[in-house]
């Protein structure tokens, strides 16, 4: 492979996973991943709380 190809190859297959790992490290450090499961509750609120079924078939 030519030099350009090597550069691009390294770019795609090395730089990206490495930056992904850095991003993961950043995320852990700044607490992005703490209490992650709280995020699952965002779709509920007082109007439609957890436990409320919100769909049904129309009654004839």
């Amino acid at each position: 492979m030519s030099l350009v190809n090597w550069i691009l190859f390294i770019g795609s297959f090395v730089v990206l996973p490495v930056s992904a790992l850095f991003a993961l490290r950043w995320a852990i450090r700044t607490g992005q991943l703490e209490n992650l499961n709280k995020g699952a509750l965002v779709i509920f609120n007082d109007e439609e709380p957890v436990g409320r079924v919100t769909d049904r078939f129309p009654r004839p």
């Binding site: 691009l8 930056s19 992650l36």
Partner: protein, 203 residues
């Protein structure tokens, strides 16, 4: 995962990775191939098509022939393309240099056409087949392209271009079917489909 800019960056970089790997790198690697001169015959390959064949190619595209016919021969040890006589060698990138768009196709409802110009060089076979595939290939599911032909009143003599139809395929008495310029162009294109020149990269 609330940080918009980080999400944007990650989303951008992930698609950028395959844009580089699957689009940019191929463009660099084989996007500037040029035709080559074949030593044995002195020909340039791939040869430019005649004007009529290029017109035929536009019709091939416009009528969607690509949805039933592929134009790529697979290697000898992969599938049975070469054993079926669809080509002498597998297709390579250089075969498609002049094609806009490249009509590789992804379906073989009908046979592969990479080398149909070699396999079936008869103009009249193609005209008959296009007019009604059942004539040459009973049981085929290819549709008839009778609209590429004109029906005209027979003169004192049959026109030399008239299709030799018989039986249930023949038109009403006193009429004959002649190919339109579109039909001729399409057949010229099909006959131009030959890509078995031995290339340096396939030896």
């Amino acid at each position: 995962m609330n940080y918009g800019p980080l999400l944007f960056l990650g989303v951008f970089l992930t698609l950028a990775s395959s844009w580089v790997g699957l689009v940019l790198v191929p463009q660099i690697q084989f996007g500037r191939l040029e035709p080559v001169k074949i030593e044995e015959t002195g020909e340039i390959y791939p040869m430019a098509r005649s004007g009529l064949a290029e017109q035929g190619r536009e019709l091939y595209r416009a009528y969607g022939c690509v949805y039933c016919h592929s134009q790529q021969v697979r290697a000898e040890d992969f599938g049975a393309d070469i054993q079926r006589g669809w080509g002498k060698r597998r297709s390579v990138a250089r075969d498609y240099l002049r094609d806009k768009p490249v009509l590789l196709g992804t379906m073989r409802t009908g046979p592969d056409l990479t080398n149909i110009g070699m396999r079936q060089p008869s103009v009249s076979w193609h005209l008959l087949h296009l007019y009604d595939p059942q004539m040459t290939s009973a049981g085929s599911i290819m549709p008839p392209y009778a609209f590429l032909f004109d029906r005209q009143k027979q003169g004192l003599q049959k026109s030399p271009d008239a299709l030799p139809l018989s039986g249930k395929f023949s038109p009403d008495p006193g009429y004959e079917i002649i190919p339109s310029p579109e039909a001729r162009a399409l057949v010229a294109y099909l006959l131009s489909l030959k890509s078995s020149a031995s290339l340096p990269e396939v030896k």
